[in-house]
Symmetry: C2
Subunit: 140 residues, 2 copies
Amino acid sequence: MTNIDELKSTGLKATLPRLKILEIFQKGTQRHMTAEDVFRVLLEERSDIGLATVYRVLTQFEQAGILSRNNFESGKATYELDEGKHHDHFVCTACGKVEEFYDAEIEKRQQLVAQSKGWVVHEHSMALYGHCAQCAQNKK
Amino acid sequence: MTNIDELKSTGLKATLPRLKILEIFQKGTQRHMTAEDVFRVLLEERSDIGLATVYRVLTQFEQAGILSRNNFESGKATYELDEGKHHDHFVCTACGKVEEFYDAEIEKRQQLVAQSKGWVVHEHSMALYGHCAQCAQNKK
DNA sequence: TTTATTGCAAAACCTTTGCATGTAT
DNA sequence: ATACATGCAAAGGTTTTGCAATAAA
């Protein structure tokens, strides 16, 4: 399925800004990007796409399930391609790198805790903050 | 130890705004509060304390270890009394209630996952979003 | 041609800061 | 007396929105 078809299948018109932004995420140079990050890439490519459009498209892509949003402690929202595989994040507070992980046991315990208190969990966010292997090494 | 002493012991002068704000959290009417929440209570009490001061005091209290800050998905920071017991949060997306929980197994797995990848975790945030027991019940 | 989308500028929102004034020690 | 804290208003950073112009279907 082409990107054009993918967009149309979600009810979104296949416009140039949307195609460009989708490609930026697919190109994969940087997996987690803020609106500003995306806008900067567009500027470098001399695409005349406004920042407001970037925000609008990111929101639409999130609602369409194309991207997923994360709110880390930086105060800016970051987006990544939604590949349907749930995962949590580790954020390096030294270099800013974001890595992903999944632990079935943690997921299971979350459900158990929720059940024991009668909650119904729809989603969760979990992020570990610290130093990645590389930055921890450099500190020594 | 009085609140005055508690403040002084952290190097903060025992001013009226600081004492008032500390009391609001200790009164415990609402455990998790945004700057705006605190400001609203102060307004009701006719204390002439500015919003900027509320922000400054909350930041200072966090650095002093009196309060701890959480960034849930609302976009606003919330604060709660720091009683030294680490815990995670469950946020009800229907009524806004925040409950706390602690699961030793989850904490242990987080460390294991981090170790296996060479990360050094300094802190983490984890929040489950969904319906609390009461709101889940009302949906039926 | 009809309806959605865009760009721009302005506004909204939460939070921080400069500065003159006031207060705790 | 001195250093710190406050209030106000202004500015900061991120995100949203109104509207006329434009592009997709």
